[in-house]
């Protein structure tokens, strides 16, 4: 069965993609499987300069999930271009560059530079990282700044699809989805992590040095499915469904809620081979559900 999908012009040989922040720059996973088996992946969030990230502890396990406050540690654009891209160009999979800035100017400078890099298939704007003071969610939880930053990036991105990764930490995510679409976004990634906290009761302090962190993993899946559902109702552009996907069944659930493709995040840490495994299991599940393609099930749960 052909399970390839077209995500705003990005050809994915299957609809299962590695989520930003859990997949390094792809190459980390080469020791586990052939990267050409997966639909694609989103890079660790890139900034103009490299970033050291947050103090430790940065992670904490939670029921069926985890909190993280990594703080967007990354190698920076130059090193990504010179050290990672030459290797990635040789691999037949979609490379989606996730990026962020602290100002609109930084976002647009990065967007323009990434748009010019041969071998990058798409851009994913991170306006939703909950773990940094400036940039990230400071943009993505305010409707006006969301509009401004998406419009600014849209005006400089000429060659590649521009996807916006939305924050779930808002009252009405569909409002943000609509603004992104109206500002020229080609697609949405729904959702980034939910802000959470765990307290060490013996130390009487939050476990994470940052205090709060982003909650991910199967614990957030129903929230994510609901938000994909809301965004699908609100916009026409394609959606990446993200949030605790751990099985082929979960992939189909997001697709039926309205996702064109999905991203797997936290479960990569637990089962580093999960993405090719889900891609392999998907056709059989689709067959059992009486479907001949992924596309025909997109938004199926909305239809009478």
């Amino acid at each position: 069965m052909d399970i390839s999908v077209d995500f705003s012009g990005i050809k994915l040989k299957n609809p299962v993609v590695g989520a930003s922040g859990t997949f390094g720059y792809g190459l980390t996973y080469e020791k586990f499987f052939d990267l050409s088996l997966i639909g694609g992946f989103c890079t660790k969030g890139l900034s103009l300069q490299s970033r050291a990230g947050n103090p430790i502890p940065r992670i904490c396990e939670t029921p069926s999930g985890m909190l993280n406050a990594i703080g967007l540690q990354n190698v920076g654009l130059d090193k990504f271009t010179s050290k990672k891209m030459p290797k990635l160009r040789k691999i037949d999979t979609a490379v989606i560059a996730n990026f962020f800035g602290e100002t609109v100017e930084e976002y647009t400078e990065l967007a323009a530079k990434l748009d010019a890099i041969d071998g990058v298939h798409g851009l994913e704007m991170n306006i939703s990282c909950p773990n940094v003071e400036k940039g990230g969610a400071a943009f993505g939880t305010d409707i006006k700044t969301t509009e401004a930053v998406v419009k600014a990036c849209r005006s400089v991105v000429k060659n590649k699809p521009l996807i916006v990764k939305l924050s779930p930490n808002v009252t009405d995510i569909s409002e943000f989805a609509r603004v992104c679409e109206a500002s020229g976004a080609d697609g949405l990634s729904v959702i980034n992590t939910l802000v959470g906290m765990v307290i060490d009761i013996t130390k009487r302090k939050p476990v994470l040095a940052n205090g709060a962190g982003g909650l991910s993993g199967p614990a957030i899946r129903p929230v994510a499915v609901r938000m994909v559902w809301q965004c699908y109702k609100a916009v026409k552009i394609p959606i990446f469904g993200i949030g605790g996907i751990a099985s082929a069944r979960d992939v189909v659930e997001f697709i039926m809620a309205g996702a064109t493709a999905v991203q797997v995040g936290t479960m990569n840490f637990v089962s580093p081979g999960i993405i090719p495994q889900l891609a392999e299991e998907l056709p059989e599940l689709l067959r059992r559900l009486g479907a001949d393609s992924v596309t025909e099930l997109v938004g199926a749960a909305h239809r009478d």
Partner: protein
Amino acid sequence: MTMQCAVISNRPLTEGFFHLSLAPEEPMGAITPGQFVMIRCCDFTDPLLRRPMSVADFEPDGSRFGLIVQTAGRGTGMLSHLVEGDRLDVIGPFGQGYNVPQEAKSVMIVAGGTGVAPFMTLAPTLAAGGKNVHVLLGARTKGHLLMEERFLHAGAQVHVATEDGSKGFDGLVTELMGKQLDHMDEPPDLALACGPAGMMRAVATLAEHSNIPCQVSLENSMACGFGACLGCVAHVRGEERYVTVCRKGPVFDSREVEI
């Protein structure tokens, strides 16, 4: 890298500690003491993350290896119930182990709790290689001391400290280390530590005061074990920079990182 392992045995050690012996479907290959594996405690998603564990005893080709586990929470509690013939999902081995230079003639090992694990094979190897090996073992009480016999049989000089004074030196293993260093004619050429962070910090300080190179094994919280999550990083001393414990460590020269 990804292995289904058969449980060969699950042997209780002392209260709250047990030894798991595992046989991977395919031998996992050469292992350096101090390297670790990531253990999945259950097939479902709670507890979700794998548990990092130092490889303890092992066959040279990795056809069998052991883990020393302390029951600390639900994940390790599940592992404590494993019996012969059960399967366990393991990935690894990962990281950089201890590096004992040829020219080091005498080595001081300091271990607390499950920190004895990486030395179960290393101490006998060093002793068999003609090195003078001191093993300092620390525990809260006599009943919690691990692997004393094994180190004695290996030909190491074993020194014990218990916090309640029930056996050996009455106090912390790091206090014992201070006394040992004072009494030795020649300081050891190298110190190796594995145990709680506070213990390793104290070992590193003592070693640095005596100009003894010291290697420590960090056990920062870790989600993946192979460099993807960037959760386990350690702060590089004197720099605004972090290194991944899972890839650059878990064993570091104590002067490189903040413990």
